[in-house]
């Protein structure tokens, strides 16, 4: 539309930019303008967490943040968790090992929430993992394997940083 504004930001370590109306939220901007469709929209009212991305180090609902608010920010999406031609990241591999995804629709949001948690709280215990995940809904898995995958990764990272 005519009132579109230019937005420049860093996504997954790369400078990117595009145009968006002021009312466009970050998730639509990522999906439609930047064609990064790994970020999913489950409710568009900030409860389900499927659209979670990391903005300047913190997990954020991309459906509640306007794209213009993300101008100049560092954004990490699920596409940034592993190189396209490289192996899966540790969280992703743990999800596969634990069967922590079924339909896969909530998975990007789960991964981003946990990536932020692991960075901010490397010593998180099970209760803290559950609390961190309480803003992400999954209808397929019943959460238990997601919690287990997160605990696997936290423990492995602690073990490797201890040596």
């Amino acid at each position: 539309m005519s009132d579109a504004v230019r937005i420049d930001l860093t996504v997954n370590g790369r400078a990117m930019g595009g145009a968006a109306e002021p009312r466009t939220h970050l998730a639509d901007f990522l999906r439609q303008e930047l064609r990064l469709t790994g970020t999913h929209l489950g409710c568009e009212h900030g409860v389900c967490g499927a659209c979670t991305v990391i903005v300047d180090g913190r997990p954020v609902r991309a459906c509640l943040l306007l794209a213009v608010q993300a101008a100049g920010c560092e954004v990490t999406t699920v596409e940034g968790l592993a190189a396209l031609d490289g192996p899966l990241g540790d969280l992703q591999a743990a999800f596969r090992r634990r069967h922590a995804l079924q339909c896969g629709f909530c998975t990007p949001g789960m991964l981003m929430t946990l990536a932020a948690l692991a960075a901010a709280q490397p010593d998180a215990d099970e209760a803290e993992v559950r609390a961190a995940l309480s803003g992400n809904l999954c209808r397929c898995t019943g959460y238990a394997p997601i919690i287990a995958a997160a605990l696997d990764v936290l423990e492995a990272r602690r073990a490797s940083s201890a040596t």
Binding site: R23, T37, Q92, C106, R130
Partner: protein
């Protein structure tokens, strides 16, 4: 076993996952087409109203709007025709049971589509939809299914003679004698409420029509591509090959995507009229309004018992809320009826179920379909028998249970076609016995007393179930070895996250010995395989799994026969090892499947070897004669906070038998996911409408789904009794977790509050229900006081609440 690490029974990681974990899924909203335009629906604001007129003038003038369609803008052939009834059975007696693509002169629930707006973006389409002015004359709405058959009840449709959608009746045994000789007759009322499917991805579709051929393609987030194609083609007057339906990656189904929806038809009609592809992606509010739900079933029962708890007979009369239309016939209430009497032997049964319309969102199966309702009735009856006679709840179940040596077992019930229902095999008693051991049933009373002395209310509940899965008639599969050696599996078995591609690959691996990574699956495209049904009723492992096995075996036999002729060795002297035909005892003499496929693929001027059809491939449609019957028992331990009424589910033990397991990792995924769905039904999920039929819970703040902090620790145990009805010996497991969990949770809460004599006859249980049962709610002054230590503990955790 050909390959113990990746074949049947191996807990392999899924081959679907890598792509999905990288954000590389291709769900409906991720698809783009040249010239794509976006749709939004104008939906009824009233539960029941006459549509007097639709003024779209302002909407059409908005910049970026391509078109606004009301029913009058569609061709006459579609305008006057209601959606097809996809599952007509004699029990369905209502003359009108389906809606139009867009409402004509009457709307019957809040959310019924009235107009479709098409624009350059979804945002503009929504802006324009808000500008469409619809004039309504509001009519009285029927919103209480319990009163829907009353003579003075408002009618669901102005022209309907009454609100009856249909009726089921079933009986076995001598019910009069059963009651005449009973020691006690127990009366009870039971109500179940279930919510919606709530797949994290809502519905969505793209319709495109080819300019010259007129071929219609519908990409849709559906469980049933072939079923949608059949009815779409029939409605449009096209032959099936002129319609292609494709399900891309689907973000969860759980039943509500197993429907041919009015929105899908409206999109096709709009795309036809515009000559451009049209996309619609449901938002969450639309999911609450217009995707099918389950909601209420209410029952009254009389249970005739002997002094030892043996059930002599049951009279049961129920009402099923169908909502405004039947989008999948009476499949939902039918599924309830045929569940009786679950894993038990009752002397006699007399059952009636009224199916009634209301001016509310249509209902149809959600994970578990009608089974959790039946299970709740049956298991509430078992608890009532125990309570009335002063017997142990587990002992009453054991007393009535089908013995493990009684299979195949005829339940006394019949299918709608009149065929006696016969369980193929089972282990209900073994599962129950093992569950009681695992859950520490015998010692729980002691733990409970000790907890009570420290002011804590813990309870243990249980429930037992049978799940009919592997629903007939078939789901086919083609297995084709490509010249590269990759094996292609094609099926109509659309996946919504179950892991079909992985289990198909495991079956192929078992038969042909190829690595999992060398098997690719294309399902859910009607152009890929001519016939299909779709994914519902925990049926794919049984139906498509058996077809994949049969087709792979035919490919194996053909490859061996070809190699035998080619190398000049008797077929008996050959076997398949790791994707090659080898000479027994001389594995160096081998012919790869890829080579055979290349020969059979043909090349110009070179005749195919005589006696062989071209192509190293086979197609099988394994005919499933009757469902398979899985069984099991669940126990849950809860702790009730008597001050707040909150229920915490702490532990869950689940002992079950789904026949031979193709992949235990995936079986456990189905179980745990299903159990948590059942926890939501037991304690959280409540779809609320007001008396005028306005939905009051239309977002996830108002409608609660279970979250990561709500789920217990799980203790699963598998018992494997092969099904006798398919070559793999498998049964369904997709709904096992959901079926018995609400009954077990309610039983556990009752047990926790047994000192208060708490009895619950419905779910979901709210904190208010719990407090009312403890007497807290009526008189907070005499609240059951949590003990001081517990208060200190919670203060330490939440210092801000300390007073």
């Amino acid at each position: 076993m050909t390959n113990p690490t990746t074949g049947i029974g191996a807990a392999v990681e899924r081959i679907e996952d890598d792509r999905l974990l990288r954000g590389g899924g291709r769900y409906l909203d991720d698809l783009e087409l040249p010239g794509l335009v976006h749709a939004a629906f104008v939906r009824s604001e009233h539960a029941h109203a006459r549509v007097l007129g639709v003024d779209a003038t302002a909407a059409r003038q908005l910049s970026g709007v391509a078109a606004v369609f009301t029913t009058d803008d569609f061709p006459q052939a579609s305008r006057g025709k209601r959606m097809p009834q996809t599952a007509p059975i004699p029990a369905l007696t209502a003359a009108v049971s389906t809606m139009h693509a867009l409402a004509t002169d009457e709307v019957c629930f809040v959310g019924e589509p009235v107009a479709i707006v098409v624009a350059a973006s979804r945002a503009i389409a929504e802006d324009a939809a808000a500008l469409v002015a619809v004039s309504y004359e509001v009519l009285p709405a029927v919103t209480d299914p319990r009163r829907a058959l009353a003579a003075d009840a408002p009618r669901v449709r102005a022209a309907a003679p009454d609100n009856r959608a249909g009726r089921f009746a079933a009986k076995f045994g001598d019910i009069e004698a059963a009651f005449a000789g009973a020691a006690r007759v127990i009366d009870l009322e039971v109500e179940s409420h279930r919510g919606g499917g709530h797949s994290m991805e809502g519905r969505g579709a793209i319709a495109a029509v080819e300019a010259y051929s007129g071929k219609v393609t519908l990409w849709t987030s559906t469980q049933l591509p072939h079923t949608v194609r059949r009815h779409l083609a029939a409605h449009l007057g096209l032959e099936e090959p002129q319609v292609r339906v494709v399900a891309p990656d689907v973000g969860g189904g759980f039943g509500p995507k197993g429907i041919f929806y009015a929105e899908e038809l409206a999109l096709v009609l709009a795309a036809r009229a515009l000559g451009r592809p049209v996309k619609w992606v449901e938002d969450r509010r639309e999911h609450f309004l217009a995707s099918v739900q389950q909601r209420d079933q209410a029952w009254t029962l009389q249970v005739a018992v002997d002094p030892d708890g043996a059930v002599r007979g049951v009279r049961a009369r129920g009402t099923n809320d169908c909502g405004a239309y039947l989008l999948y016939g009476l499949l939902l209430p039918l599924t309830t009826v045929v569940q009786f009497p679950g894993p038990y032997r009752w002397g006699a049964l007399e059952l009636e179920l009224d199916c009634v319309f209301t001016n509310l969102t249509p209902t149809s199966p959600v994970r578990g379909a009608g089974r959790p309702y039946a299970n709740f009735v049956i298991e509430r009856a078992m608890d009532a028998v125990a309570r009335t006679l002063g017997l142990d709840r587990a002992a009453v179940r054991a007393r009535n249970m089908i013995p493990d040596d009684a299979y195949p077992y005829e339940t006394g019930m019949r299918t709608p076609a009149g065929v006696p229902i016969k369980y193929d095999s089972g282990s209900s008693r073994a599962c129950l016995d093992r569950l009681l051991e695992d859950a520490g049933w015998a010692g729980f009373g002691e733990r409970q007393r000790a907890a009570r002395e420290s002011g804590r209310y813990i309870g243990l509940g249980l429930a037992c179930y049978v799940e009919d899965g592997g629903i007939p008639p078939f789901e086919g599969a083609t297995v084709r070895v490509l010249p590269s050696g990759t094996v292609l599996v094609r099926s109509g078995a659309a996946s919504q996250g179950q892991g079909h591609a992985t289990i198909f690959a495991q079956i192929v691996c078992e038969v042909l010995g190829v690595p999992l990574a060398q098997v690719m699956t294309e399902a859910a495209d009607t152009d890929a395989i001519p016939r299909g049904v779709g994914t519902l009723g925990s049926r794919i492992a049984v139906t498509a799994g058996s077809s994949v096995a049969k087709a792979a075996e035919a490919v194996r036999d053909k490859a061996i026969a070809f190699a035998a002729a080619h190398v000049g060795v008797a077929a008996e002297g050959l076997e398949i090892v790791e994707g090659a035909v080898v000479v027994r005892g001389a594995p160096a003499r081998r012919m790869k499947l890829a080579e055979i496929a290349a020969f059979l693929n043909g090349s110009a001027g070179v005749p195919i070897r005589p006696g062989f059809e071209p192509g190293l491939e086979a197609t099988a449609f394994f005919p499933v004669p009757a469902p398979t019957y899985s069984n099991g028992s669940v126990a849950v331990e809860v702790e009730v906070d008597a001050a707040t009424g909150a229920v915490r589910v702490a532990e869950c033990w689940f002992v079950h038998d789904c026949g031979r397991m193709l992949n235990p990792l995936l079986v456990e995924g189905q179980l745990v996911g299903g159990i948590v769905h059942g926890l939501g039904n037991a304690l959280l999920e409540r779809m609320v409408f007001d008396r005028e039929g306005q939905p009051l819970s239309t977002n996830y703040g108002e409608y609660l789904l279970p979250g990561a902090t709500d789920v217990p620790r799980f203790h699963l145990r598998h018992i494997e009794t092969a099904s006798t009805r398919n070559p793999l010996g498998v049964k369904g497991v997709g709904e096992s977790g959901t079926i018995p969990t609400p009954a077990a949770v309610i039983s556990a809460v009752e047990d926790a509050l047994s000192v208060h004599g708490a009895v619950f006859d419905r779910h979901p249980l709210s904190p208010e229900d719990v407090l009312a049962a403890t007497g807290c709610l009526q008189d907070p002054g005499k609240a059951v006081r949590p003990d001081e230590r517990r208060r200190e503990a919670s203060t330490a955790l939440h210092p801000e609440t300390a007073r």
